[in-house]
């Protein structure tokens, strides 16, 4: 079979291209239409097929003309790989779980004597762990700077997105005083400041907040006149979609706009915030706000068939672990001590009912789980 493919590969000018693919110690050779390479998914499937690894998550890489090992993970770099392959497209496949990301990059092939040694013995040369670059579809925003167009340039409005409870928001606030321009001249007024960032926390990882930044607003509500405890509670209550407006302590990293290149000082523009407040309102989208607190409802109308089947968010998964469902309506909830075991086998019962669920058509509309 290989030979047959080679035969086709012989007529190179016709637009076929030879592919040499390596997974572990095994090689596969096949050919592709150079003019119609298809989509990355198809190519990925083809690789899994020829290596007979249909359910293994893998990383795909190729060596370009400079000898660098580069990843193929979307249509664009796949097409690039196909178009630059001359004459042979060398593919290296690694299992995703033991992928060595340091193998990728410029000069990887020339720097290391043999890229194979990296691929074959991944733990050989690993000195410092590389940052994992996820697939584009895995990306999700963790923070953003918003409303740049309506805020004074000395201020920064940062939105922190929080998913689940896996990572802490991670910062501390304190009382302090700041200088403001008032009709009576400069005045010291009490303010709220960021006092500390938790290493590894969300706030630190964004790089948008720093120690000694003054907090001006929390989700559109000015903090002036509010106590430290009040501001703390406001932030925690909004923690799922926290939008804080700060005046950064370090004003040098501000976005410089053409219209206002003569950077006015932080103090002098303070008052201008007032005039912007009406705009702020427009920047909150109700549906975004709604999304931040979806309560989980689990209904159990006493008919044991109705059991949560799907769990939409990670939070609900977590809460499900606490839920013990009564599955025998006559059981009445009060369990004599001799029969307590029923409560503890909730997990296995779940499984059992899922089978029932399959032929229970009304399940969806009964809404065993509703997120609001």
């Amino acid at each position: 079979m290989n030979r047959a493919q080679r035969g086709v590969g012989g007529s190179r000018g016709l637009g076929t291209m030879e592919v040499k693919s390596k997974f572990g110690a095994e090689f596969r050779r096949f050919s592709l239409e150079r003019s119609k390479p298809g989509k990355f998914e198809e190519f990925y499937g083809l690789l899994q097929h020829v290596h007979k690894i249909p359910n293994v998550e893998v990383l795909v890489g190729y060596t370009d003309i400079h000898g660098d090992l580069l990843p193929i993970n979307n249509d664009d770099n796949y097409h690039k790989a196909v178009s630059t392959a001359n004459p042979l497209l060398r593919i290296f496949i690694q299992r995703k779980e033991d992928a060595d990301y340091s193998a990728f990059g410029t000069d990887t092939m020339t720097r290391k004597k043999n890229v194979l040694s990296n691929v074959l013995r991944p733990d050989n040369h690993r000195k410092k762990p590389h940052v994992v670059i996820s697939m584009p579809q895995d990306f999700r925003p963790v923070s953003s700077i918003i409303d740049v167009d309506i805020l004074p340039e000395t201020h920064r409005r940062v939105r922190l997105y929080k998913y689940g409870t896996d990572k802490p928001l991670g910062f501390y606030i304190r009382d302090g005083s700041s200088v403001r321009v008032t009709p009576h001249g400069l005045e010291k007024v009490p303010g709220i400041f960021i006092s500390r960032l938790v290493p590894g926390g969300l706030a630190q990882s964004t790089g948008l907040l720093a120690v000694n930044d003054e907090v001006l607003e929390v989700n559109g509500i000015e903090v002036s006149g509010k106590s430290l405890d009040q501001v703390t509670d406001m932030m925690i209550a909004n923690s799922r979609n926290l939008i804080i407006t700060v005046r950064p302590a370090n004003q040098r990293n501000n976005i410089v706009r053409n219209s206002r290149t003569s950077g006015s000082s932080g103090q002098s523009t303070d008052n201008s915030l007032q005039s912007y407040t009406p705009h702020i309102v427009q920047n909150y989208h109700p549906e975004e706000e709604e999304s931040d607190d979806e309560d989980i409802i689990i209904e159990d109308s006493g008919e044991p068939q109705q059991i949560p089947k799907a769990v939409p968010t990670c939070e609900s998964l977590e809460s499900l672990t606490q839920i013990e469902l009564l599955h025998e309506s006559t059981q009445n909830g009060f369990i004599p001590s001799s029969e307590v075991n029923l409560f503890h086998s909730a997990g296995s019962i779940n499984m059992e009912y899922e089978i029932h669920d399959a032929d229970q058509k009304s399940l969806e509309e009964d809404g065993t789980i509703i997120t609001l």
Binding site: A237, D293, I296, E299, L372
Partner: protein, 956 residues
């Protein structure tokens, strides 16, 4: 946009007008006993009494409902008060040596109290001698002349000054100094010593020109003001107080050695007198001083001598006593707190005869007011209609019931009357003034739970908070010491002690403390739950009874593994039959296991169900069939703290304290090391440097207050605490059939809803109640659920059980779709039923940064329109302000500042009534009453008939 809909300021003028007619915030009256009283005064003409406090408050009381409150601008102790009899004026002396004149004035037909003048005795440099102490002009005693025009001020320096009362101006020329007195004193007494401060000033009862002046070192003179000379002279021991006998023929003096002397003025020829009698009543061993003494003549028997103190120093020096002696009868009234002052209610007018005939003795002690009936043999106590010591044992919870049916009211009053047969039946002697407030339109109970396991019922319908009935739960349990034994033993001894008053802050067992109360006013059934997980189901009985209590235990852990309870043990119930007096008698004791404090309780008397929750879970109990219906554990698997009980938390606190001390020490040590020791030449510098090092705050304190911003996670400690329980007849399973439901909310934002199968009335004994979990709601913000309420089709809260069947409430709308209002510490949310989906919400914390502490659904009646009323959600936050929201729209209506945010116990103690009033503790012994309703206000409205004519002119 939704979140900005609560913009302040009105858009709709009509709605604003309605709001004004519905809502108004007023702090109306303070119930209970003033915190830290410091002085007492009585006006025999107006028959009103004044109590001054250490915080500068003045409270005047007359007949029940007649009350005035004033507050000095200075927060200084009110050390003395004196009424200008009949005038409605009061002179007060503060700790800072200032005098203040208060006046009751009339406005709009009602009397009010206000301060009109104040005066400070000028310090007089160089008056006595250059190096005299500054306290020389400090006022020690005040005497108001019976003509009410002049006050005599005795001072620390020994001088007596005269003050014109109408404008508080000093009459400089009349001042009387020690040297003038000393001229009359025999030489052997003088011997170069000062007389000491003026200790007592008393006007001659018959001859206003003569005053009795007592000096601290023992000299007592009768001074003739007109002749400016000493009439009589008595030489005694270190003086404490003086009193005249009514006729002016006898003087009694009390002394610091615990004795008193009786002097006769008959032998007017002689200037220096010897005492007729000198005795130390509790001698012969050294005694404490007699602080105050009164002599009252009596037509029907021999005279009364009433004095405070004088107890034998070694054996009873720590007792707080007032002794009442009439002939051979001596009673030593033994109080549980310090005696502040006392007076007698007696005849003062000449027209009333030549005897005092004291009717009552009024004693103000630090924690209560006790009135003794002196006309009834045995001198019983008169029950006080106000000034009740709410804190006789610390208040642990409170509960208010509005619209109490007359029948229950009467049964509880009669139960209360039977509790105290030894009380005097005479009328309250301090009965001046007229209560103008209209009869309360409805009766209200305030129930307070106490640390010693008692529940007290108070009449909260009007201005004066009257005690009605006291229910004890301690007698059901085996506690370490029995209550009455220690009292009975003391009776044989001498002095003849008699325990009076009810202030007893020492609880035998903290586990007895009452945590939650629920009462059904129609069936007179009550549930009382305590600190050791005890839940008592009680029934009101008019007969006394002797029966055994059935005990049921309910394991709320449901065999969760890995948890061990390290807290207190459960209370062991007494075996066998127990005797109960008429009143609430327990029928069943349900014991939660582990025995953690009960955090929520609710009762449905129609379904015979009681639900209760602790930090571990909740249970449902059928008290008719006496069997448990449901037990549910709410513990989160990660939550270990809840299991360890309160003890281990203390340990961890100790540990963290120790750690922080170590840190401080460490930083100090390292700081000292840096002190340069190389230059011994400048030791002063070194010492300064060291001082500066030490004076500077240690590193730990340098870090300013900071707060961590962390979203609430599921494994917060104590997440399983059950915060609220609720019964409702509503639609849980489908939209066509409604039925009994039970709801429970926890600290971690979980709500559990159970559908109940309750058999019909006839079948209670045959069929058991069943509970099936219907719904479980996890609030995503995980804040503690403070309250749950179901709203009917019209958006009104469901009525209480039996309310509809007894025609006291409109039937709920069962046609329209119901909704459930869930209040967490951070948000209010309305969900539709039976399919639970969010309808409206208000995120209080997200906007205001405050947390919800207390909520209640309240009916607000309009002040303008007789039959217009609205339901509102009233919420008290951790900042002490009160917000009112519309129901079910959850639109903010008004908000008021109510309690200082530092006053945590005040915020924690707040209760709301059903009709827009509320109570909170302003001190351990006082409830402040406030109203949010513009119509339903309970405030003192009273009138005092005064005898003064115009300002400046006094009655002669």
């Amino acid at each position: 946009m939704m979140k900005f809909r609560f913009r302040r300021g009105g858009h709709d003028p009509q709605r604003d007008r309605i709001k004004q007619e519905l809502f108004a915030f007023n702090k109306t009256v303070e119930h209970g006993f003033p915190n830290q009283p410091s002085s007492l005064a009585y006006d025999p003409k107006l028959r009103i009494m004044a109590v001054g406090t250490k915080s500068g408050a003045v409270k005047i009381y007359g007949a029940p409902g007649v009350e005035f409150t004033g507050l000095h601008r200075e927060t200084a102790t009110v050390t003395q008060m004196h009424f200008l009899p009949g005038q409605g004026r009061l002179l007060s002396l503060l700790d800072d040596n200032t005098l203040h004149l208060w006046e009751i004035y009339h406005k709009d037909g009602c009397s009010h109290l206000e301060e009109i003048h104040s005066f400070a005795l000028p310090g007089r440099p160089g008056f006595d001698s250059a190096n005299s102490p500054p306290s020389i002009a400090r006022v020690t005693v005040i005497l108001l002349k019976s003509a009410c025009d002049v006050a005599c001020l005795g001072t620390e320096g020994g001088g007596v000054y005269f003050l014109e009362l109408s404008g508080l101006t000093l009459l400089e020329d009349k001042a009387l100094f020690q040297d003038e007195i000393l001229q009359s004193v025999p030489d052997d007494y003088r011997c170069g010593k000062a007389l000491g401060p003026v200790e007592s000033l008393q006007e001659h009862p018959q001859d206003p020109s003569k005053i009795l002046i007592g000096y601290s070192r023992g000299l007592v003179v009768v001074w003739d003001e007109i002749a400016r000379k000493v009439d009589h002279l008595f030489l005694g021991n270190q003086l404490e107080s003086l009193t005249w006998e009514r006729s002016g023929k006898t003087v009694v003096s009390s002394h610091s050695d615990g004795g008193y002397m009786v002097w006769s003025l008959n032998s007017s020829s002689q200037k220096t007198l010897q005492p007729l009698l000198s005795t130390i009543p509790y001698g012969p061993f050294p005694c404490k001083a007699i602080n105050k003494i009164l002599w009252r003549t009596c037509e029907s028997g021999s005279h009364f001598i009433i004095f405070s103190g004088g107890m034998p120093r070694a054996s009873y020096g720590d007792r707080h006593c007032v002794s009442v002696l009439q002939g051979q009868t001596l009673v030593t009234l033994d109080f549980t707190s310090r005696v502040i002052d006392f007076f007698t209610v007696h005849n003062t007018e000449a027209a009333e005869g030549e005897f005092d005939n004291p009717r009552a003795l009024v004693v103000l002690v630090e924690e209560e007011l006790v009135v003794i009936d002196l006309q009834t043999p045995g001198w019983p106590t008169v029950p006080a209609p106000y000034l009740a010591p709410l804190h006789s044992s610390a208040i642990t919870c409170s509960y208010h019931i509005s619209n109490v049916p007359l029948k229950l009211w009467e049964r509880i009053i009669s139960a209360g009357e039977q509790q105290n047969p030894q009380l005097s039946s005479v009328n309250w002697p301090i009965d001046g003034g007229k209560n103008l407030a209209q009869e309360p339109t409805q009766r209200g109970f305030l129930l307070t739970g106490h640390e010693d396991g008692t529940v007290r019922f108070w009449d909260a319908s009007g201005v004066s908070l009257k005690p009605l009935y006291k229910l004890g739960t301690a007698n059901i349990f085996q506690t370490d010491c029995e209550h009455n034994d220690s009292l009975n033993q003391a009776e044989e001894e001498w002095p003849p002690f008699r325990k009076v008053g009810c202030f007893d802050p020492y609880s035998d067992d903290p586990r007895l403390g009452i945590q939650k109360i629920a009462l059904c006013k129609y069936t007179a059934r009550m549930v009382v739950a305590g600190t050791a997980g005890q839940v008592l189901v009680m029934e009101l009985s008019d007969e006394k009874s002797e029966h055994a209590i059935s005990v049921a235990t309910l394991d709320l852990l449901q065999d969760r593994e890995g948890f061990t309870w390290k807290g207190h043990d459960r209370l062991a119930p007494k075996n066998g039959t127990i005797a109960f007096t008429p009143g609430f008698q327990p029928s069943i004791l349900v014991q939660c296991l582990p025995p953690a404090a009960v955090t929520a309780v609710t009762l449905h008397s129609e379904w015979n169900l009681v639900a209760f929750g602790t930090s571990h879970g909740f249970g449902l109990f059928d008290y008719y069939r006496r069997n448990p219906v449901l037990a549910r554990c709410t513990l989160h698997p990660n939550d270990s703290l809840a299991m360890e009980g309160p003890l281990s938390r203390v340990k961890s606190l100790k540990k963290s304290l120790r750690q922080s001390f170590r840190r401080i020490r460490k930083s100090r040590v390292s700081g000292k090391k840096r002190v340069p020791t190389s230059s011994p030449s400048s030791k002063v510098q070194e010492a300064n440097a060291q001082l500066a090092e030490q004076a500077g705050p240690p590193e730990v304190e340098m870090t300013p207050v900071q707060r961590r911003i962390e979203p609430r996670s599921a494994d917060d400690s104590l997440s399983g605490v059950v915060r609220c329980l609720y019964f409702a007849d509503t639609f849980l399973r489908d939209a066509t059939h409604h039925g009994p439901t039970m709801w429970a909310g926890t600290n971690s934002g979980s709500v559990f809803a159970y559908a109940l199968e309750v058999p019909s009335q006839e079948k209670f004994s045959e069929r058991a109640v069943e509970a099936v979990l219907g719904k479980e709601i996890q609030l995503m913000h995980r804040a503690p659920v403070v309250s749950i309420a179901v709203l009917d089709g019209r958006g009104n809260p469901l009525p209480e059980p039996y309310e509809v069947s007894r025609d006291l409430a409109k039937a709920p709308d069962m046609q329209g779709s119901h909704s459930v209002l869930i209040s967490s510490e951070e948000q209010f949310k309305v969900f539709t039923l039976p399919k639970v989906s969010a309808k409206t919400k208000f995120k209080l914390t997200a906007h205001e940064g405050c947390r919800v502490r207390k909520v209640a659904l309240v009916s607000f009646a309009s002040a303008a329109c007789e039959d217009y009323a609205e339901h509102g959600l009233v919420c008290l936050t951790n900042l002490g302000d009160i917000h009112i929201f519309s129901v079910p729209g959850l639109r903010p209506q008004v908000h008021y500042d109510c309690i200082r945010k530092e006053d945590i116990s005040g915020i924690a103690s707040c209760v709301f009534t059903k009709h827009g009033q509320g109570f909170y503790l302003i001190s351990p012994s006082e409830f402040e009453r406030f109203s949010l309703s513009a119509r339903n206000i309970t405030e003192p409205l009273c009138y005092l008939e005064l005898t003064r004519r115009h300002d400046g002119t006094c009655l002669g």
